[in-house]
Every structure is written in structure tokens, then in C-alpha cells.
């Protein structure tokens, strides 16, 4: 089995490298097609490797020769296998879309090469067995993602967005290096397995410092508020599959980093670790969905939704840590399983939604939801796939989002089993915030699907949309995956339990999946739910009334009349709701948070009705930019300006520096 696993992983590496090469060598349609096939197959190999690892519990490990910075060890742990499954699935879907979404040319070649290098780097992040491999792979992933985002670098705003992405990534990377540095120094080794064995060496303040550095360092990449700006900056400007990769994979790698360090490399810590992670998750989830409701740009909206979902994942992880440190290992394992499930689910439906948004963007030339409309009739396949993704991400039964959020809720609701009242109350607050997020998310995604796809087209671009030659395969694959992840919940949970058991040491399978395709949250006396039967029930509830109506209907007694629109002469698209107005109740409720800036201008001062077009502009106050990022940037610039005299350009001064440095080294060395 180990051999098969290693073989599959090598296959994935080779195929992706091959795809990159093909992209370079074949700058034509067959070249792109070949790259697509190789990429897809590589993704499939990675997916199968992940599944096989969880199914067979084999331990695949490759140790290469020792280099300068420690040996290069590649290990596939069950925890990494979960993320590998997500990586493989998304890579398959994105690869399947290449032929129809990329025109052959130099820009495409560069893009495909950097994309496949990013895939390889992500693979190595997951397979890393030593600190060196992890850090090198992580940085390569950041750099290649930056190149991905720069595909349309001549367009306005792309360079700035990509720069913000890499700048914040580097700040996070500095913190990650610091954390791993502390870990390596205290445990005296760079190998993860050895670090795990010697975790006890991180007592007291060192463990706290590492945890905080890791949480904040990975938060930059995961897009957790207030360190989230990279995501809404880079996702809208990257091409659709690049944005899908950034949102679906890169953020999950950050989650993998947090899991890896908190659960494997750090010893059991105080309860406030879990509570801090949970509060960070709560803030990200609630603020993420609130800001997403104010977005008109489809991809920026999806970026904020990613922030919200990462918040949910972090609530689950934080809860897991809290339960672990409060002597409730079963619930800790349950919440870890819930977090991993949500990782899988979110990768699937977020990638799907980004791909569909990209299809619409190419077909209509528009990303602004307020200018779209009526796409369901013009692009039915795209609409259907997007509908599956929307139902999934809004956590509506019976799809996969519902299953993972149900598990998170059930885990949090059992906070009463912790004896500390303060902790229990904080967990309840987290559950309440999650409920708020869930409700707002349904609103946000009803808006995201309803405004562009339903109703009448609000602009010429939307009216002229068609599905001719638009990619469908990738989206269809992900939609199928959503349904499989929902209906096959017992199987998925069995697999995730293996991952959780390997990470936390607690196996709760018998208290998670019970006979009869039912799922229970780690305690038999709490609640239960069967995703399969729920799906069957819902379909039945839909089908039975339809059947009755069909059978009971008399022939030809139906009359079709136009939609009642108040008897007005002509129903114009401008009379419909827009995305802005749909979210207006939320805007009014949370006005103190948004502090929007309104601008109303008229073409002339003539009396009402004759004044010409009225322009209504509305902008949400960018709180984090204004109060966090800009002051920090100004501070750094201020320091840099003060330090500038050092770089005077005077050669004599530089010689003085050299002399000073030699003197210092001499004094220190002699000592």
C-alpha cells in the first residue's frame, strides 16, 4: 500500500510538472489541451492518494539525503491527506476547464507554468516532513500565487491587488519563520516527527508565543479579520481559476499550517489558546459576511465569503482546542472533524462559484451584479451548476454545507459539558455568532444567485450573454462532488475520523456514525441526523405535491397570464431590485459598522422630473484600511524616512561602516 501511495504522489508531481512543460512547449490549442489532460490526471492522482491514505492508514514517507538545512523528508499524514483530497479535486476541476477558458499565447503559457508550479508547491507544503521543506514550499507557493494573480497585469488595479497579496503574505511568512524558529530551537530538531516527540520542551511562555505567531502568521494567508486584506485585493483581479485556486487551496493550506502546529507540534496548552482562535473565527465570520453583503463586485463578494467560511473553520478549530484543553477529547475530535469537513466542502463550492463567476464575466464582460440579470434563461447550464454551489455554501439541506455546519453547531452546543462557566458562556456566544452568520449567509447567497441569474437583464452585456463555448466540465465536476460529499456523509466522516484520530489520538467513529446512515455528535443522548434520509425526504416532499398536481389536474383548464406587475404598461429592468437594494435592510441595521458615505448628484438644478439623470453613489467605510493598515504603513514609512540618512551615498561614510563592522566582529570574536 505504501508503494502505491508513493507511486500516486510521484505521479501527481510528474504530471503537474509535465503540464507545466507542455504549456511552455506547446503555445497552441493542442498544447493547452495536453496541459489540461495532464493537470486533470495529476489532480486525480492526488485525490486518489488522499483517499487511499485515509482508507488504508498506510504511512508513506520518503527521506532524501541530508542537506545543509536538515534532511528533506516527505511524509503523508492523515491530516495532510484531507487537504490533499481538496487540492486534487480542485486541481482536477480547474484543469478540466483549461481548453475553453484560456486562449493560447505567451500570457497563457506563463500563467499555466506558474499555476502548475503553485500546485506543486502546495503539494510539497502538505507533504513536508521538515521545517525547511515546509518553509521553502510555502514561500514558493506564495510567489507563484503572486504570478497567478498578475495574469492580466495590464488591467487597472491588478498590480496593486497582487502586490498587497504578496506583501501581506510576506509579513505572515516572517511570523511563521519566527514560530518555526522557536520550535526548532527549543526541540533541537527540524524534523516534524522529532518535534512532535519532544513537544514537552515548549513549556510556559514559549508555547504561547509560538501559538500566537502561528495563528497570526497563517491568518494573513487564511484571510482572518483584521489581517484579511490580501483576499479581497487579489481575488477580484486574478483570473477565475486563479481566484478559485487562491480562495479554495491557499487559504486551506494556512488552515493546515495552524492544525499542524497546534495539534501536533505544540503540547496541550491553556484554554485561552482555543478561545483566542475561536474569537478570531467569530470576528472573521460575522464581519466577513456583513462586508460581503455590501459588495456589488461578484468576485470581491466571493472573497469576503471565503473570509466568512474561514472564520467558521477557525471557530470549529478553536472549539476543538478548547474542548481538548477542558478534558472533553471526544468533542474536540468532533469539532476537528467538523472543521476538516468544512475545509473539503468550502474548497469544493468556493472553487465552483469562482469558476461560474468567471464564465459569466467572460460571457457578459461584467462583474457587477447590479448590471446582470436574466442569465438563467440565457446560460442554463451555468445557472444550474451555480445553483448547486449556492445551495451548498448557504448551508441549506440536503447539501454538504449543511452537514458540516450542523456538526460545528452540535459540537458548540455541547459546551455545557465543560465545567468552567466562563468558557461555556463564551462557547455559547460563538454558537450564537455562527447562527447570525448562517442567517446572513443565506441572505447574501440568495442575493448572489437571484440578482444575476433571475429576473430581467439589467444591461446590454447581460442581455447578450450566451453559453457558446464556455467551460462547463470543471463546474459540473465540483457540483457532483458537492452532492457526493452530502449524500456520502457517513463515508466522508469515517475517513475524517481517521485523520482526527491520527491528529488528536481520539477515535470517535462509533460515536459519530451509527448504523442506519445516521450521524450523532459524539454523545448518544444529544441529537442525531441522517443526511441520506434527509435528502430522500426532501426530494420526496418536493415530488409528492408535484405528482398530485399532475394527476389531479383536469385537461386544458390552465390559462397562462403574464406576471402581475401592478398593471403598468411596460415592465422595465430598472424597476427590479438591485444587489444594493436587496442588502439594504442589513445595511440599515448595521449602519454603525458600515458608516457608509453617500453621494447624490444631479445633472442639473432643474426642478424634479426634469433635472436629468440622478447619480447615487454609496461606499462603505473601509474601517480596517483606515484605522489599522494606513497608520501602520505611515509608521513604517516614517521610520524608513528617519533612517534614510544612513544611505547618504557618501563612499567615505560607507568605509566608516565597514571599519566599524570589522571592529565589532573582532571584539566579539576575541571574547
Amino acid at each position: 500500500m505504501t508503494g502505491v501511495l508513493i507511486g500516486l504522489l510521484v505521479a501527481a508531481v510528474v504530471l503537474w510538472a509535465g503540464a507545466a512543460l507542455t504549456a511552455i512547449l506547446g503555445r497552441s490549442i493542442p498544447g493547452v489541451r495536453m496541459a489540461s489532460v495532464l493537470s486533470c490526471t495529476g489532480g486525480g492522482a492526488a485525490l486518489v492518494a488522499g483517499v487511499a491514505e485515509l482508507a488504508t492508514r498506510a504511512q508513506a514517507q520518503i527521506a532524501l539525503s541530508s542537506g545543509v538545512a536538515g534532511s528533506v523528508t516527505l511524509v503523508l499524514t492523515p491530516l495532510a491527506a484531507v487537504f490533499l483530497m481538496a487540492l486534487g479535486l480542485v486541481a482536477m476541476a480547474l484543469g478540466a476547464n483549461f481548453p475553453r477558458s484560456h486562449e493560447p499565447g505567451t500570457a497563457t503559457t506563463t500563467y499555466l507554468v506558474s499555476y502548475h508550479l503553485a500546485l506543486l508547491a502546495s503539494l510539497f507544503v502538505l507533504l513536508a516532513g521538515t521545517v525547511t521543506v515546509f518553509l521553502v514550499a510555502w514561500e514558493s507557493m506564495t510567489l507563484t500565487s503572486y504570478l497567478l494573480a498578475l495574469r492580466h497585469h495590464r488591467d487597472r488595479g491588478v498590480a496593486g491587488g497582487a502586490f498587497l497579496f504578496i506583501a501581506l503574505g510576506e509579513v505572515g511568512f516572517a511570523m511563521i519563520i519566527a514560530a518555526f524558529g522557536i520550535l526548532a530551537l527549543r526541540t533541537g530538531s527540524l524534523d516534524f516527527a522529532v518535534m512532535h516527540a519532544r513537544a514537552a520542551a515548549l513549556g510556559g511562555g514559549w508555547g504561547d508565543a509560538v501559538f500566537l505567531l502561528i495563528l497570526l502568521g497563517f491568518a494573513f494567508k487564511a484571510g482572518l479579520i483584521p489581517l484579511h486584506l490580501a483576499l479581497p485585493a487579489a481575488d477580484p483581479v486574478a483570473p477565475p481559476d486563479g481566484a478559485a485556486f487562491l480562495s479554495a487551496i491557499v487559504t486551506k493550506l494556512a488552515v493546515y499550517g495552524i492544525c499542524l502546529v497546534s495539534f501536533r507540534l505544540l503540547p496541550a496548552g491553556p484554554v485561552w489558546w482555543g478561545l483566542t482562535a475561536m474569537s478570531l473565527g467569530v470576528v472573521s465570520a460575522v464581519l466577513g459576511v456583513l462586508y460581503s453583503l455590501m459588495e456589488r463586485d461578484w468576485k470581491r463578494f466571493l472573497a469576503f465569503s471565503t473570509i466568512e467560511n474561514l472564520g467558521v473553520i477557525l471557530i470549529a478549530l478553536g472549539g476543538s482546542l478548547t474542548f481538548m484543553e477542558s478534558a472533553q477529547p471526544a468533542l474536540a475530535a468532533l469539532l476537528l472533524i467538523a472543521a476538516l469537513y468544512h475545509v473539503l466542502n468550502h474548497s469544493t463550492y468556493k472553487a465552483l462559484l469562482f469558476l461560474q463567476a468567471g464564465v459569466v464575466e467572460v460571457a457578459t464582460g461584467l462583474r457587477d451584479m447590479d448590471r446582470l440579470g436574466g442569465l438563467m434563461k440565457r446560460m442554463p447550464k451555468t445557472a444550474l451548476i451555480a445553483l448547486v454551489g449556492t445551495l451548498g455554501i448557504a448551508a441549506l439541506p440536503p447539501l454538504n454545507g449543511f452537514v458540516s455546519e450542523w456538526l460545528v453547531f452540535q459540537g458548540l452546543f455541547q459546551g455545557f459539558r465543560i465545567h468552567s462557566h466562563l468558557v461555556a458562556v463564551l462557547i455559547v456566544v460563538a454558537a450564537a455568532s455562527l447562527a447570525l452568520t448562517g442567517g446572513l449567509a443565506v441572505n447574501a447567497f440568495a442575493r448572489m444567485f437571484g440578482i444575476p441569474f433571475l429576473g430581467m437583464p439589467r444591461s446590454a452585456g447581460a442581455a447578450g450573454a450566451n453559453e457558446h463555448n464556455r467551460p462547463v466540465a470543471g463546474g459540473a465536476l465540483l457540483a457532483t462532488a458537492c452532492i457526493v460529499l452530502a449524500l456520502g456523509a457517513p463515508l466522508v466522516l469515517t475517513a475524517l475520523d481517521r485523520a482526527a484520530a491520527a491528529t488528536t489520538g481520539v477515535n470517535i467513529l462509533s460515536r459519530l456514525v451509527v448504523p442506519g446512515l445516521t450521524v450523532i455528535p459524539a454523545h448518544t443522548d444529544f441529537s442525531s441526523f441522517s443526511p441520506t434520509y434527509l435528502a430522500v425526504c426532501l426530494l420526496g416532499m418536493l415530488a409528492v405535491p408535484l405528482l398530485l398536481a399532475r394527476l389531479g389536474r383536469r385537461r386544458s383548464s390552465d390559462r397562462t397570464a403574464p406576471v402581475w406587475a401592478g398593471g403598468i404598461y411596460r415592465f422595465r429592468p430598472r424597476m427590479q431590485y438591485t444587489a444594493t437594494t436587496h442588502a439594504n435592510p442589513v445595511r440599515v441595521t448595521f449602519d454603525e459598522l458600515y458608516r457608509p458615505h453617500f453621494e447624490i448628484t444631479r445633472a442639473s438644478d432643474n426642478p424634479a422630473g426634469q433635472s436629468g439623470p440622478v447619480h447615487y453613489g454609496f461606499k462603505v467605510a473601509p474601517l480596517f484600511e483606515r484605522y489599522l493598515y494606513q497608520p501602520l504603513t505611515r509608521l513604517v514609512e516614517g521610520i524608513a524616512r528617519r533612517a534614510q540618512p544612513i544611505q547618504s551615498g557618501d563612499v567615505n561614510l560607507y568605509l566608516l561602516y565597514v571599519l566599524g563592522a570589522i571592529l565589532v566582529v573582532y571584539v566579539v570574536a576575541v571574547r
Binding site: R559, A561, P562, W564, G567, I568, Y569
Partner: protein, 177 residues
Amino acid sequence: MIENEEVDRRRDAPPALRSSSVAETAAELHRRSVRLFGRSLHIRTIDTGSCGACESELRLLSSPRYDFHRLGLFFAPAPRHADCLMVTGPGTLAMDHALMTTYEAMPDPKIVVAVGACPMGGVFGRDQYTHGDLSTQLPVDVYIPGCPPSPLALLQGLLLALDRSQARMPGRTEPAR
């Protein structure tokens, strides 16, 4: 529907040619459809250019003095929910489209009630801005004369539409010679 065809024929023919059997068939069809409403009626009102007096009287139907809810009568928020269309006003041409779309938006079976003198050709009659006679536009089931008809007259007319009341004309109508 065959009932409308009967009414069309009745509308065009002068009174002398109207045969009692046709009237009976129309009445029977009307009774059958009205039975579907049970004892209750959901009413949609439409103003095709009236002076507003009929609307004032219609509005008073829901006041505590007349309280049409106790008789099972309701105003509907949209024609989709309505069984009955009460038309006031002389049928201005500007409201043609609205009147037709409202009528078509109502599901079958439905009844049309002409309220006031205007839809029966009074006050304005037929001129360059109005149709005058509502029965040239829609098949009218019940006529409620008055200018405006008091809420009590409206109640009587609506109950008549539901077959819960008899027509109470004074004396007798002498036949045309």
C-alpha cells in the same frame, strides 16, 4: 368560457331579441361558478377614472359601521387573489390596459361588478376619452347603481353576486312593447 359568449350575445342584441332561455343558461352557469366561492368573496377594486365618491363608499365597507368582514367579504391585495372585480369610473381610455391586465390576472371563475352611474353610461357616457359603458369592455355580472351607491347598496349588490340575496327592485318592470 361559454358563459362569456352568452353574455356577449346578450350585450349586442337589443332587449327585444333576448330570449329567456339564454338568460336562464347564463344564470345557471353563474350560479355554478358562484357556488365555488362558498359564502365568501375576495374583492379587487379598480378605478377607471372616477371622481372618488364610489371609492369613499367602498372604503367605508371595512369601517365598524358597515363591517363587510362579518359577511365574509374581503378586499384582496392583488388581482391574483381576487374572485370579484369591482369597477368604478367611466372607463377612461388611459386605464384600458390596466383594466384588461387586472381582469386577465384574476383566476377563473371571477365576477365583475359595475359600481355607480359611470360604468353604466351615466354622467360622462361615451366620448373621446371614455368608453362609458363597462359592458362593452368586460362581461358584467352585477350592476350596483347609485352616485355614489351607499355602502348598504354595495353590500346588497355583493350579496346578490354571491346568490345570498335576491334582487329587490320596487314594483314591477313593465316589458318593452
